[in-house]
Amino acid sequence: MKEKSLILVLDDDPDICIMIKMVLDYYGYDAMDAENEENARKIISSNHVDLLIMDMLLSGVDGTDICRQLKHDKKTSSIPILMFSAHPTAKETCLAAGADDFISKPFEMNDMMDKISFFLERNKIRQD
């Protein structure tokens, strides 16, 4: 097994990407970011992504569509997806699309980190 878990951050807002990456970096995770679906898919196909954190609202596409597609694809369905959004009713939409969990914007850092570590721990257990 590799040393560090790789987390992919997908958000069309570069500010959010940079921020989350910085936080993840601080907590010792490897993080990559993508500003659109195409880049995200490239990263997923060429790296072992342990967790995907993504915004529900993306340019041009609906984040829940991406989530649904990833969850339906056998190759990617095991990647936990943590979605976030500021939309007041986004939670149900995201969970219904197959997201493993949801955090609403603005999120509490500890909340997010808890969820991240939960998923990564769960990955390990599953792998074992």
Partner: protein
């Protein structure tokens, strides 16, 4: 018996040789020898005396046979040989031993005749000493006794009985024979050898069979035959051991008792093998053969017994010894075999265990007593990092640091202990933690000694770690679950709750200490939902997929039901369903909103439906109008199918609407084929307008006046034919009858001679009056026949005729003698003489009864028409629709009340007679006007949703119906206008409502996103800094981290501020509270300032500012600056692949100043250019990203500029860039 005293007397004197000798001495002395050929012993020959003396003094059995009679004299020792033959003193030897005389007599002959002695070492003699024939053996010698006179006078025998010795020797020999069994290695071989051994003693066992017992089958069968072959059926070949039968009782007894059983043949079995004898056995013996550890015999030896022996103890012992010997050997073989098997097994298992160990998936190793590896599994090698060949090496040498307690375990197990541990912890040399599960046990060599130990270990570190992790995650899950606002729950496979988080417990008002299995969650589900929920869960569990459903759950405290979004995922262990894990989220508010919206829609729909019903009702009214028409009206399509028909037509055809609708005319009335009516219809379909003044329908037998009018659509194409028919049958038949009546008019002549008062009638008159012509008629009689009511009139008319000399025609009624009332038309002439006196009157009387009646009928029919017409008019006037009839000059002929009211709003004064275009001049050239003109061409036109400005904005559905005159020309058009304003208004309202809802929702979603995104960023950085600070309190924070965080935060705050001010501006614009703080300033200076600001934060783009014109403006400087920023930031945003932006300030042709920003970016579509100034519009598309912002920047900019009296313009070409310009008035 003998007389002893006598004998003793003799003895004392001359019979010394007879002294002693015990009982036999006594008997010899007392025997009366005189009765024998020997005579008095005193006179016996000396040799005899000597011999007798010898026998009497010898303990050795001896006898003397004297003389040719073999007189028998024997000693004490010999009496035992004689057995029951004793006493046989003085008897002849050949009589005493008659059964063996064959043998011994021959020998005696030799002695007597040849004077030689005989000697036999162990002669078999079958004696009968004890009442049976007995096998005996003797060692004896016969010696001649010389008589005193020479020759052989007697026989002297010294003998020893060897029976016991011989038989014992034989027994011994048999047993010795059985020693050979020891060489045999199989059961069968032993039995066979035993058979041969026993066969060798065919005296004691003339024949026999060894039966082997099959205990499981409870059956015995021969295993070997002794002295007999298997073809001889002496004994049964198979013996059922469950129950004895005839002939097996003894065998069965032996089997049961495990004792020897002897049985008599008793003649049952014949022709038995006799073995060594010439006689069949009389007894059989069944000897059980049993070995230790078995409850029943393993075999039974059934054998014939020696016919010349009693089955005495020694014989019995022999049998037992034989059986024991066989049993011993058999048991030896069995145990040998067992041992062999055991050894083989041990060897095999050793081999297997070695192999097993080597290849075992577990870490295993086998050690000898010195802890040297005997065998080791690959896994062990891997687990303990061993390489190469370790067999033979000491474990302790390989692991010098091995734990002491483990060494102790090893040594205990070397002594036979078995020890294990399910979880043992130690740290490897490199310090990494290892959890082990192990078991140590000794292993045994084939000799049963401990050969060493086997160690089994399983590294459970991963599992342990996983367990810890699971435990930890479980705890974390529970903590999270408990914190979650939604219910988190788990169930077992029976859907029994196993976990419910705090929110759930709170909702159901359950104590946290409640046991999960006591929660019957089903009772919290709304009863109407329960079945559904269970079926969904069941389905999900079966199909291995998650489910999402909505259901109502009861609040434990209030008892209210709330809607919940329930999600569950089934879980499985080894494909077995183990329960669900899921969440339930209170969505009551959402559901409530949904329901309200739904209700709203339902309400609207209902209202609309009502409107539609009204509309329908009103349409029905038109139909009613048509229906109430007495005329027959039907509309046919071009296939001559009836597509519309009114009641009159239906009743004329005596049918119902549903039976004719959609059917062809000939299908309904086949008899119309080739009639004029059908032909007319086909002609009309071809485009001809037909009018028949009188059309007779032979089918209906009615007269009609009818019109057939083709109906054309806007393309002048015929789509239907309108057939209208007015039933004239009554009229036509009435007038025809009148004619007929006139033709056959009943007219009579009368002549009245006034002077004579004689009245004469023609025959017709008599006929009409129903009076017998043979009877004379006079004036009085005539008057009496006149209807009493008309008599006065009659007389007045006659009076008048007298005075005026003229006769007026008049009608009167008569009553015939038969009582029939008739109406008469009377005409006459007055005849005057020269003096002017009336002399006679003559005239005609005509029966006009029928004619009058017809006339009456006609009047009544027309009255009915009138009534009906009045009804229709009433209907028309009371209609809610506007009904107007317009003539060819477009003047109103008639209008109903509703129309009057509506038109009255725009036109004062009477409407009837006025031209349509006078009342509404604006209608010329409109669709309405055109439709009206088209209707005059004979087309029925229906026009939906016509907007009318007459009396406020109204929407109508106009129906134009051409009215035809008799010449089939359109003389007027009826317009029926139905007011649909309310429908349209409500539909519009509903549309707007949903549109604004959508817009509002979109805006909320966007605003949330846009506002929360910078907040998220800020929060992220701040919390990161806080965390970093908490963690490294003592240390300095990495300055790079702090700086980049703060820069980002600053940027986000700027973004947030801009968004908020945009929102504020929007609010102001929307509420109309935007105020401008106008001042005089230089647009050029503001432009420079703004561009500098932009360049401060944006380093990518180069901005060229061209001041073609210097201008001052009087405006709100901040707002104009905002517009400039908006233009510039847009230019930057939408030109990500270019780095140049040009800005101009120029003068426009109409004397204003223009500020233009040109970029070389993505550009805007023509279609989109109109939309970009709309509120909330944002560039969208596949290529472009959606850019952050509310999408109200340009909207605000435009509002600002327009508020200043300026304009905003855009020029753009897709892919080449855009230029935005605003113009402002120049301040001079």
């Amino acid at each position: 018996m003998v007389n002893f005293p006598e004998l003793s007397d003799q003895k004392t004197t001359s019979l010394d040789f007879l002294s002693g000798g015990g009982e036999m001495g006594e008997r010899i002395r007392n025997f009366d020898w005189s009765k024998t050929s020997l005579g008095d012993p005193k006179h016996w020959q000396n040799s005899l005396k000597t011999c007798v003396r010898i026998i009497l003094t010898s303990p050795q059995p001896m006898f003397v046979w004297w003389g040719k009679e073999y007189i028998n004299i024997y000693n004490n020792a010999y009496q035992f040989i004689l057995g029951e033959k004793h006493p046989a003193l003085g008897a002849s030897g050949n009589i005493v031993w008659k059964e063996i005389w064959n043998e011994v007599g021959a020998r005696a002959d030799i002695v007597f005749n040849k004077n030689e002695g005989t000697y036999d070492d162990a002669l078999l003699l079958i004696m009968n000493r004890y009442g049976y024939d007995e096998e005996t053996y003797f060692k004896f010698s016969y010696n001649p006794i010389p008589g005193d006179n020479g020759g052989t006078a007697g026989l002297f025998c010294v003998c020893t009985e060897e029976t016991e010795r011989i038989i014992n020797e034989r027994y011994l020999k048999t047993l010795q024979e059985l020693d050979t069994l020891a060489q045999k290695e199989s059961e069968q071989a032993i039995y066979e050898q035993a058979a041969r051994s026993i066969e060798s003693n065919n005296k004691d066992f003339p024949f026999g069979i060894i039966y082997k017992i099959n205990e499981t089958k409870k059956i015995a069968g021969p295993v070997v035959f002794i002295g007999i072959n298997n073809e001889q059926s002496v004994f049964p070949s198979h013996i059922d051991l469950n129950v004895p039968v005839e002939g097996t009782h003894n065998f069965y007894e032996a089997y049961q008792t495990r004792e020897i059983v002897v049985s008599e043949n008793a003649g049952r079995r014949k022709k038995l093998p006799m073995g060594a004898w010439q006689k069949e056995a009389t007894q059989f013996v069944h000897v059980p053969i049993f070995i230790a550890g078995h409850n029943s015999p393993i075999a039974i030896l059934s054998a014939a017994l020696n016919p010349f022996r009693k089955f005495d103890n020694s014989y019995r012992q022999l049998a037992n010894l034989v059986a024991d010997r066989i049993a011993l050997e058999i048991s030896k073989v069995i145990s040998l075999e067992q041992e062999k098997n055991a050894r083989k097994k041990i060897e095999e298992s050793e081999k297997v265990s070695r192999l097993f160990i080597e290849h075992a998936p577990a870490a295993m190793a086998m050690f000898d007593t010195e802890m040297r590896y005997v065998s080791v599994s690959r896994k062990w090698m891997k687990e303990y990092d061993l390489t190469g060949n370790v067999i033979g090496k000491s474990h302790y040498d390989l692991f010098p640091n091995i734990l002491g307690r483990w060494k102790q375990v090893h040594s205990r197990c070397m002594k036979g202990a078995v020890e294990k541990s399910d979880e043992d912890y130690y740290e490897k040399d490199d310090g990494s933690p290892v959890w082990l599960k192990w078991k140590v046990r000794p292993w045994y060599t084939t000799t049963g000694e401990i050969g060493g130990i086997v160690i089994f270990t399983e590294n459970i570190t991963q599992r342990k770690k996983a367990q810890l992790a699971i435990k930890e995650s479980e705890e974390r899950f529970r903590t999270m679950a408990n914190e979650a606002p939604l219910f988190v729950w788990e169930t077992d496979e029976n859907l029994q709750t196993t976990f419910l988080n705090r929110s759930g417990l709170d909702h159901f008002d359950l104590d946290e200490t409640i046991k999960m299995n006591e929660i019957s969650w089903k009772k919290f589900i709304h009863p109407d939902d329960l079945e559904y929920v269970l079926s969904v869960m069941d389905d999900a569990a079966k199909k291995h997929h998650s489910y999402t459903l909505e259901m109502r759950l009861k609040n434990g405290r209030t008892g209210e039901y709330h809607w919940f979004l329930d999600k569950g995922t089934p879980r499985y262990a080894d494909e077995r369903f183990t329960g669900f894990i899921g969440t339930s989220l209170d969505i009551n508010d959402r559901k409530q909103t949904e329901r309200e919206l739904e209700n709203k829609v339902i309400q609207r729909t209902r209202e609309l439906n009502q409107q539609n019903i009204i509309l329908k009702q009103q349409n029905n009214l038109v139909k009613k109008i048509l229906d109430s028409s007495v005329d027959l009206i039907a509309v046919y399509d071009t296939d001559a199918r009836i597509i519309s028909i009114n009641q009159s037509a239906l009743s004329a055809m005596k049918t119902k609407e549903e039976q004719v609708m959609g059917k062809k005319l000939l299908e309904v009335l086949p008899q119309m084929k080739d009639t004029q009516g059908h032909k007319d219809l086909l002609r009309a379909i071809d485009g001809e307008t037909i009018h028949n003044e009188i059309y007779y329908s032979p089918v209906l037998n009615r007269y009609y006046e009818n019109s057939l009018v083709p109906l054309k659509d806007h393309d002048d194409k015929i789509y239907a034919v309108l057939v209208m028919a007015h039933d004239n049958t009554d009229l036509i038949t009435s007038s025809q009858k009148l004619k007929e009546a006139q033709q056959i008019a009943q007219i009579g002549h009368w002549d009245w001679d006034v002077s004579t008062n004689r009245l004469s009638w023609s025959d017709n008159m008599y006929n009409i009056y129903g009076v017998d012509p043979s009877k004379s008629i006079d004036y009085d009689k005539f008057i009496s026949l006149v209807h009493p009511d008309d008599r006065a009139n009659m007389q007045a008319n006659i009076e008048f005729a007298f005075q005026s000399r003229s006769y007026n025609d008049f009608f009167h009624r008569i009553i015939t003698p038969a009582g029939e009332i008739k109406i008469m038309y009377a005409r006459g002439e007055v005849v005057v003489d020269k003096e002017g006196n009336v002399t006679r009157m003559m005239g005609t009387g005509q029966d006009v009864t029928k004619q009058k009646l017809l006339e009456q009928q006609l009047i009544e029919t027309s009255k009915k028409f009138e009534e009906r017409n009045r009804f229709i008019e009433k209907l028309i006037s009371s209609s809610l629709d506007l009904i107007m009839v317009v003539d060819k000059d477009l003047r109103f002929i008639t209008i109903n009340k509703k129309a009057e009211t509506v038109l009255g709003k725009v036109y004062k004064g009477p409407i009837i007679g006025e031209k349509v275009t006078d009342i509404d001049p604006s209608m010329i050239g409109t669709q309405t006007y055109q439709d009206l003109l088209d209707a005059f061409k004979g087309n029925i036109i229906i026009r939906d949703k016509v907007r009318s400005t007459m009396g406020g904005e109204q929407y109508y559905e106009h129906n134009y119906v051409p009215l035809f005159n008799e010449e089939a020309e359109v003389y007027a058009v009826m317009i029926i206008s139905h007011d649909i304003t309310e429908n349209i208004r409500q539909m519009e309202e509903l549309r707007k409502l949903s549109e604004s809802d959508v817009q509002k929702n979109n805006f909320i979603a966007m605003a949330s996103h846009e506002l929360k995104t910078p907040i998220t960023s800020i929060k992220g950085y701040v919390q990161l800094l806080l965390n970093a600070f908490d963690k490294d309190k003592e240390k300095h924070l990495p300055p790079l981290l702090v700086r980049s965080s703060l820069i980002s935060v600053d940027k986000q705050i700027t973004r947030l501020t801009r968004l908020i001010s945009e929102l504020l501006d929007l609010t102001k614009i929307e509420t109309g509270t935007l105020e401008l703080k106008k001042e005089e300033f230089s647009l050029n200076a503001l432009a420079i300032e703004t561009v500098e600001d932009i360049l401060y934060t944006n380093t990518k783009h180069e901005i060229n500012l061209f001041h073609d014109f210097q201008s001052y403006v009087f405006a709100d400087k901040d707002r104009i600056g905002q517009v400039m920023i908006n233009f510039l930031t847009n230019a930057i945003k939408y030109s990500p692949n270019s780095n140049k932006i040009d800005v101009w300030i120029r003068q426009t042709k109409n004397g204003q100043v223009a500020f233009t920003v040109k970029d070389y970016g993505i550009g805007i579509d023509k279609e989109e250019q109109e939309k970009i100034f709309e509120r909330f519009y944002r560039a969208k598309g596949k290529e472009e990203q959606t850019y952050p912002g509310f999408g109200i920047g340009l909207f605000i900019a435009k509002e600002f500029v327009e508020k200043h009296g300026g304009q905003v313009l855009v020029k753009s070409e897709k892919g080449k860039g855009s230029s935005f310009t605003f113009n402002l008035p120049i301040f001079k």
